[in-house]
């Protein structure tokens, strides 16, 4: 395997920059954002250089590694701080640094009025560093460091405006949901070590087929739990909507393009486990299927533009997760969808940010309307992203999503039909809610009331959106041309291992079905929202809509099942601790004291009673001996 000394710099640059920005305090206010952006761009440059270097090598030699130092070495456990860049991780490196840099640029302008902008950029750089570590780590433990690092970055960024209690709570919620996932990752690592004596990807991959299926299934399920936490998949999805409390660039970078897709990366990276653990794989499919519909349903009812997009993200990641559950060929499609989604969803989020920028931070789409006129560039780029996500050819989403639906149908038997129908239904709903977003925001009557007319955002914000839109348009075509991405990833995910199942339906039929589905969703939405709207959300709505508005009761469920019993448990424990455990300790003291007080009354002060005590004592001794010896 080739070694390289550049990998460390990918991470070190943003990490150091982040530390500098934090440590230098207000002094860095004037240049902090510039440094952060330059550093991010430098990482991107390194990534590009590495990509071309890798591209120039033969398939077998493409992966490069770099050992930095021995991290933990105890007994048979040896973990190096060591990085590995292969065909899979380079995709992520480019996505993270590329989209990341654009978002840095965007944020310079977007955050220009915030006096904590320096801190914001410090967090962003920290995020880039952590996310790069996540995808570059050569073992589960290194990945874990990045995994929690991005969680921390996400926490800090969601709570960037933590003076608002709701935002601080949202940040906390995200961190805790992530931590539940982390339990899965921790346990997976423990099982892996107990089974393989190793935690590195390479070491485990080598022996994966020797382990028993129980162990592999356990590892797989635990990894899936981790993925659920990080990628907001059912049942740990509830934090993502609240995470929109963070500044919009954060939503675009972390909660749409990169961090939330880490679960997909994890499962793809662990393909050697899942391929040997059918039950775990089935669970992946179930989780993906449920989430893609769950997110989509919520997306239909949201009036908050960012929350609608967040629900959409959840749903799209559901597609990806579902794809990873489909076996070797699915991984490549999942990654392809992940990349295209990274472009179009980021562009739409930034577009939403641009709209908010024009609308004085208003997020309620019912108070938008007709904005297209005032913000033509934003509307155009948003529209491109929209076409991409609903899967209209030849935009990028079409290529990636279509492949997933097709592969889902091909999974075979009832499973295939169920999955195919679920993805297809998802496509219908996606088309519906995205159309709803576009109409409510950019078309129709102006409902923003007394506010000033919105103006187009500054160029510094629009340029990144524009560049991302290019991705929305072209990425899908590029990736799928000649199965480019599939072949590129082949050494990592090994799709050729699969003996090809018979095609359930010819690809062209699936594509047509998809298009029909999209058209249905689109048409329904247009019919429903074509007329003038009112700024107030209708109150009399169906049960389904009101449930969707309340995120299908996910928070209510968590509160009823975890939070409140937890609180009661704590209350009980607090009392138990005081009354029972400490009470026992105190009662020992109290008993001694009261025994002392009682025994002390024997001391009556009367000589005669003392003498009596002596007589009784002597008699007792006599009796005792008598009894003992007799």
């Amino acid at each position: 395997m080739t070694t390289s000394s550049n990998l460390l710099w990918l991470i070190a640059l943003p990490l150091f920059s982040s530390a500098i920005l934090i440590l230098s305090g207000k002094r860095a206010n004037s240049w902090g954002h510039v440094l952060a952006t330059i550093v991010s761009a430098s990482s991107f440059t390194i990534g590009v250089v590495e990509f071309f270097a890798m591209h120039g090598r033969s398939d077998a030699n493409r992966a490069v590694t770099q050992k930095i130092f021995t991290w933990i070495s105890v007994g048979s456990l040896n973990v190096d701080a060591s990085l590995m860049l292969d065909q899979l991780s380079i995709c992520f490196v480019l996505l993270i640094t590329g989209v990341g840099t654009l978002i840095h640029v965007y944020s310079i302008s977007y955050m220009s009025h915030d006096h904590d902008r320096r801190r914001f950029f410090a967090y962003l750089n920290f995020f880039i560093a952590s996310m790069l570590l996540l995808v570059l780590g050569d073992s589960y433990l290194n990945l874990y460091v990045g995994w929690e690092g991005v969680g921390l970055a996400s926490y800090l960024l969601i709570g960037f405006w933590n003076q608002k209690p709701a935002y601080a709570t949202a940040a906390k919620k995200a961190f805790i949901a992530n931590r539940i996932g982390d339990v899965g990752l921790s346990i997976a690592i423990m099982i892996a070590f107990a089974t393989f004596g190793d935690v590195s990807f390479a070491g485990i991959k080598e022996h994966a087929d020797e382990a028993s299926s129980t162990q592999l299934t356990a590892i797989g399920l635990m990894l899936l739990l981790a993925a659920c936490g990080k990628s907001a998949q059912f049942p740990l999805q509830s934090w993502l909507g609240d995470a929109m409390a963070g500044p919009t660039p954060v939503s675009a970078l972390i909660h749409a393009a990169t961090m939330v897709t880490a679960g997909v990366y994890l499962i793809t990276r662990s393909n050697f486990i899942f391929d040997e653990a059918p039950i775990a794989q089935l669970m992946v499919l179930v989780v993906g299927g449920i989430t893609l519909l769950f997110g989509a349903v919520i997306g239909m009812a949201k009036d908050d533009i960012k929350k609608a997009l967040a629900a959409s993200t959840m749903s799209q990641i559901g597609y990806m997760i579902l794809a990873t559950g489909l076996g070797p060929i699915g991984y490549a499609f999942a990654i392809m969808h992940l990349l295209t989604h990274g472009f179009f969803k980021a562009s739409m989020f930034l577009g939403a940010g641009s709209v908010m920028h024009g609308m004085k931070d208003e997020v309620n789409m019912r108070k938008f309307g007709g904005i297209g006129k005032f913000m033509p560039f934003t509307a155009l780029t948003f529209g491109l992203g929209y076409l991409a996500i609903i899967g209209v050819p030849p935009f990028s989403g079409f290529y990636s999503k279509d492949k997933i639906i097709e592969t889902a149908f091909n999974a075979g038997g009832i499973k295939g039909i169920a999955l195919g129908m679920a993805t297809l239904l998802g496509a219908v709903i996606t088309a519906f809610y995205m159309t709803r977003v576009v109409i409510l925001t950019f078309f129709g009557n102006e409902r923003w009331g007394h506010k000033d007319e919105p103006a187009e955002s500054p160029a510094l914000m629009l340029i990144p959106i524009g560049l991302l839109s290019i991705g929305s348009i072209a990425a899908g075509f590029i990736f799928s041309k000649g199965d480019g991405l599939v072949n590129w990833l082949q050494p990592v995910v090994n799709p050729l291992k699969e003996h090809h199942a018979e095609e359930f339906l010819p690809p062209i039929i699936v594509s047509l079905m998809t298009l029909v589905a999209v058209m249905i969703g689109l048409t329904v939405a247009i019919l429903k929202y074509r007329g003038d709207q009112v700024a107030q959300a209708p109150e009399k709505v169906s049960v389904l809509v009101s449930a969707a508005r309340r995120d299908l009761f996910q928070d209510e469920f968590n509160e009823a099942v975890f939070m409140r019993p937890g609180q009661s448990l704590i209350k009980i424990l607090l009392n138990l601790d005081y009354i029972l455990i400490d009470g026992l300790v105190r009662s020992v003291a109290a008993t001694s004291l009261s025994a002392g007080v009682r025994l002390r009354t024997l001391q009556t002060g009367y000589v005669r009673s003392y003498a009596l005590m002596m007589v009784i004592g002597a008699l007792a001794l006599v009796t005792t001996i008598w009894v003992v010896t007799a």
Binding site: S73, I176, M190, I191, A194, D198, H207, L569, I570
Partner: protein
């Protein structure tokens, strides 16, 4: 005279010198103590540089007869496990000294007594980890209680005398049970190999099962009280709430480690068979501690009580690692002791500064500190993150080692223990939200940020937390050989991986 003895004596000599300074020159006393303890810290680091990492035997040994009638020796020596704990003590003391200047003035007897007590305590802390004579260890183990008792009672707040008494009596009770066991060991040694308190020799005793179990319990309960392990923990929150922050740092950071240290050095090394018998019970208690401590921490309103209960949870991890009887568990537990020392020190010191500024220890009285006192908020945040074992910070490595080491032998315990990391997120993030985030609560607008002195005091702690997270190797290199030896001598080998290497 071994360097160890010199280092042990230096604080005592410093205390005598400090005693010569008039009580009124508090400034001089504070500076002199800081300089003295810093020098001791620097000298103690030379213990590590001169330490032979490849050897598993005791180093820097010295032995002089003390009470010849009982063959009691002043015998000291260190291996990897004790070395790191001594370093933890000597490094934390100057930090505590520097951090507690105002707090020392606030007690009953003024700064002079405060620092003399701290210095005496330092000598005893070094002694307790260095002793290789069971009797000598016991002497330090018990005598240590006295300065702490006066530190809590004299410089604490709230219901301090009751807390000091509870602390002392509870510890004494455990100590006396241990005394009974020590006497038992001594007598058995007298019958088998001649009266001795030498640890290495005592480890060779052949004791019948029933007696060994009873003797083991005597030691274990004492250490479980000290550590403290559920259900022997109730003194700790009271003591931590009453003690001043500096005292709490030493109490939770170092003194309680004597409990877990004792479990390794005495329970396991002297009674391997009994350890084996009781392992399931102890692992159960440890797991309960982890979860129970965490839940209790979540329910605390007082910031000091919170930190105390987090420590109970952490001590559960340490105990679990020790009794997992794997090299990873043992090394991890040991490293955990060091890391917990530093992260608790950070938490307590910063919490102490927050409380001093605000005049309250109720979590709800804070709020929005991140905007008012950003540096203090940051340091508190990092300390909190270390406490919840965020990867990249020191505690993570040790917690991971403990969990992975436990899993290979007791998977169920490890899995339940892992749930602790979710609860850790709760008990850290909830107070962080309440203290640092949210709107600035009335009365907090004018709080001042950390002074230069405070920054200098906390900087090394934060540095250690970060560096040890990424590069724990130097410390692990010290610990590993000894940890492996302990596990091997107790008759255990690491469970082999099922496939692969």
């Amino acid at each position: 005279m071994s360097l160890l003895t010199v280092i042990g004596l230096l604080p005592l000599i410093s205390a005598l010198l400090i005693a010569a300074i008039p009580s009124k020159s508090t400034g001089l006393i504070k500076r002199a103590t800081f300089i003295a303890t810093s020098l001791i810290a620097i000298i103690s680091i030379s213990l590590a540089t001169g330490f032979d990492k490849t050897s598993t035997g005791m180093q820097y040994v010295q032995s002089n007869p003390w009470i010849s009638s009982f063959n009691i020796n002043y015998a000291v020596g260190i291996d990897g496990i004790s070395l790191v704990l001594i370093l933890l003590s000597t490094i934390l003391v100057p930090i505590v000294v520097l951090a507690t200047w105002p707090e020392a003035d606030g007690g009953r007897w003024g700064a002079k007594v405060f620092y003399i007590l701290i210095l005496i305590l330092e000598t005893m802390m070094i002694g307790v980890f260095a002793a290789t004579d069971l009797f000598l260890f016991y002497v330090f183990f018990e005598a240590m209680l006295i300065p702490v008792y006066f530190l809590i009672g004299g410089f604490g707040s709230g219901n301090k005398s009751a807390a000091a008494m509870k602390f002392l009596l509870y510890s004494l009770f455990g100590g006396l049970l241990m005394l009974a066991s020590i006497i038992g060991v001594y007598v058995i040694a007298g019958n088998q190999i001649g009266a001795t308190f030498d640890l290495a020799k005592l480890a060779t005793l052949q004791i019948d099962n029933k007696t060994e179990n009873l003797l083991f319990l005597g030691f274990f309960i004492a250490f479980a009280i000290k550590a403290p392990l559920w259900p022997f923990h109730t003194w700790l929150p009271d003591a931590a709430k009453a003690a001043s922050p500096g005292t709490s740092v030493l109490l939770l950071g170092v003194l309680d480690k004597v409990g877990t240290y004792g479990m390794i050095r005495f329970c396991i090394e002297l009674f391997p068979d009994a350890s084996k018998t009781f392992t399931p019970l102890i692992i159960t208690l440890a797991v309960i501690s982890i979860i129970y401590g965490a839940f209790m921490a979540i329910g605390q309103r007082d910031i000091k009580g919170l930190i105390a209960f987090t420590s109970i949870s952490h001590f559960g991890f340490i105990t679990m690692g020790i009794f997992a009887m794997t090299t990873q568990g043992m090394s991890g537990a040991n490293l955990y002791m060091v890391n917990h020392g530093f992260s608790t020190a950070a938490l307590f010191l910063i919490a102490g500064w927050m409380m001093m500024r605000r005049g309250s220890s109720v979590i709800a009285d804070f709020g929005g500190l991140q905007r008012v006192t950003p540096i203090m908020a940051w340091t508190f945040f990092i300390a909190g993150m270390s406490s919840l074992a965020l990867p990249g910070l020191s505690s993570f490595v040790s917690e991971f080692l403990v969990l992975v080491g436990t899993y290979t032998r007791y998977p169920v315990a490890a899995v339940i223990g892992t749930l602790g990391i979710v609860l850790a997120a709760l008990y850290i993030l909830i107070p962080i939200q309440k203290t640092l985030h949210g709107p600035i609560i009335d009365g907090n607008e004018k709080l001042t940020d950390l002074s230069l002195r405070e920054k200098i005091a906390i900087a090394p702690v934060i540095l250690v937390i970060v560096v040890m997270g990424f590069y724990p190797k130097p410390v692990l290199d010290l610990i590993n050989p000894t940890a492996e030896k302990v596990v091997t001598k107790a008759g255990f080998t690491d469970p082999a991986a099922k496939v692969g290497k």
